[in-house]
Every structure is written in structure tokens, then in C-alpha cells.
Amino acid sequence: MQENLDPLETELRRLPPSAVPPDLMARLRAARVEPEPARSAAAERAVRWWDWVIGWRGLAWATPVAAVWLLWLAWRPAAVPGRVILAEAHGIKADAVQVDHSLIASFDTVAQMPDGEPVRFRCREWQDDVVVHDGANGVLITQSTPRVEVVPVRFETY
């Protein structure tokens, strides 16, 4: 079906694109990708099976781990409910515990509720420090945790 062309379109179509430079054409000819030869059904099955084996190869290391785990399950001492073996309890016996709270910052901020009512919040930034000392074992544990406290302030208080 011949479409109705605008005279300008006809004129433009008369201008052919310039030829491809010979060296580029040679490169394009050489760049043809060879299609893969078709495989027989048996070969396709073998390839699929091998792909499956290769896919599980990454889990080969897990075999000895699984064997050791099974042995441990078979030989482990039976656990007695309600009995705690004290010799196995290696908890820390702290001889000094120090808890400290430091106020890092305190400020007020104002926000608006959906209905436009202003709400004031009092924001405080704390640093909680805990120091546990076990002199017998020579253990000192310190933990420092930041904490933010946001409290709405009622109208009557400001």
C-alpha cells in the first residue's frame, strides 16, 4: 500500500544516506556473531544434568560439616531439665557496677497538628553509660548508649 506522501517527504527521501566507510563496513562484516549449533536432545539432557551438578558444587563444603553435626547429635550428653551445671556457668561476677546518665542536649521545638494546633515538644539527648568491673577475672565492660527523649509539653506549662 503506497502511503500519500507530502511533496517535501518525497524530496527528502530522494536524498540517500551517505555510504558506510569501507573500513567500517569491513569491521561490521567481520563482527557477525556465529549462531550456536543446534544440540541433540540427548546432549541437551546431559548439559542440563551437568548444570544441575555444577549448581550444587558450591555446597560441597557443607558435607563434612553436616557429618560432624550428626555425630554430635548422636553422642552429646543428654540434657537434664531443671538442672544447671554450675561448673559450666562462667558468668561474670561483678564487684562494681556503675550507671551514669549525662544530659548532652536539651531543646524545645514546635510542630503543628493536622488541624493547625501548635504542639511544643521538649527534646533531650542523653548518654547512658554502664561500667561493669570483675576484679577476679580482670574484666572491665563499658557500654555507652545515646538516648533521645521527646516529651510533649502541655499548653499550661509554657
Binding site: 507530502d6 511533496p7 517535501l8 517527504e9 524530496e11 527528502l12 527521501r13 530522494r14 536524498l15 540517500p16 544516506p17 551517505s18 555510504a19 558506510v20 566507510p21 567500517l24 563496513m25 569491521r27 561490521l28 562484516r29 563482527a31 557477525r32 556473531v33 556465529e34 549462531p35
Partner: protein, 175 residues
């Protein structure tokens, strides 16, 4: 022996099919690539990469649809432009000093070809790529829409605007 012969024959057929496909489509693909790239070297690289990728995507050695290659050229041109953004302006100016001729006209049409190339250069990129794909690429609006990832109606309206602008700019030679 017959198998070997038929294999060679098959390869030769594919080779000649590939040559025919290149002879038919490579010039218009290069025209589009030249419009998308900043220099001739980039245009040739775009074309080669897009053709190879399109051919690789095809199954059983069937030549790719030109629309697919046009789309690949455009996407690769966008990537290339991003990479090239850091180039020095001086380098780009030097590359643009001698732009290649987009058309291969007869002697008497040489002036027209120059005017059309100038007019195309003055079009917005979006209109220029649509008019190029339509006039010289031979694509339908649906194919253009797919290649440029735009709605077909958009492609049609861009083409209409581009044609009007080209008409205005080339009024002296195309009456």
C-alpha cells in the same frame, strides 16, 4: 561429508544474508548514529556495538529488525554522552570542526543535501530523530515509538512539527 558441505553452505548463506542486511540497512543506521553522536568515531563505535548486540540477541542467525538496532544505537548514545560529559570542550570543538556529510547526493542535489543537513541540525533532537527514522529509516510510527520508547502519538506529532520546520527552512529549494 555431506554434513560438512551443508554446514559450509549454511554458513555461506548466513554470511551473504549478513552482507545483504548490512548493505541494505548500514547506511541509514550510520546516518542515525551520526546524528546521535558527537563525532564520527563515536558514531561508528555506536553503530558497530549496536549491530553486534542486535545480532547476538537474535535467535538462529535471523537478521535483526532495523527498529531494534535504531533503539540500541540511541540507548548506547545516551550512555556514551554521559561518559563523555567530562571531556574538555576544547576536544569536542576540535572533533566537530569537520562533521561528516550525512547524505550522498547527485552532483545537482549537493546544495540541497547541505541545506537539509543544516535544517536537520537546527531541529530539536527529539524531532530530528523521529524524522530521520521515518524518512530514511523507513520505520512506521509504531516502530519509531518502540525504538525511542515514546507513545506512537508523540512520535507522530513530533514528526509533524519537524516536517513543518523543515518546510520552513528549506522553502528556497523545495517548492
Amino acid at each position: 561429508m555431506n554434513g560438512v558441505n551443508s554446514g559450509c553452505q549454511h554458513e555461506t548463506d548466513q554470511g551473504s544474508e549478513w552482507d545483504r542486511w548490512l548493505a541494505l540497512h548500514a547506511p541509514k543506521l550510520l546516518l542515525f548514529a551520526r546524528q546521535q553522536a558527537r563525532c564520527e568515531a563515536d558514531a561508528q563505535e555506536l553503530l558497530q556495538d549496536a549491530v553486534v548486540e542486535a545480532w547476538r540477541q537474535q535467535r538462529a542467525g535471523v537478521p535483526p529488525e532495523p527498529g531494534l538496532v535504531f533503539g540500541l544505537i540511541r540507548r548506547r548514545a545516551i550512555d556514551l554522552a554521559r561518559r563523555n560529559d567530562r571531556r574538555a570542550n576544547r576536544e569536542l570543538t576540535a572533533q566537530d570542526a569537520a562533521p561528516p556529510e550525512w547524505f550522498a547526493p547527485d552532483i545537482e542535489d549537493r546544495e540541497r543535501a547541505r541545506l537539509v543537513q543544516d535544517a536537520l541540525n537546527h531541529l530539536p533532537v527529539e524531532q530530528r530523530e523521529v524524522v530521520t527514522l521515518k524518512i530514511w529509516g523507513g520505520l512506521t510510527f509504531a516502530e519509531i515509538a518502540e525504538a525511542l520508547e515514546i507513545p506512537a502519538n508523540t512520535a507522530a506529532s513530533r514528526y509533524r512539527y519537524a516536517l513543518e520546520e523543515l518546510r520552513r527552512q528549506t522553502r528556497e529549494v523545495f517548492v
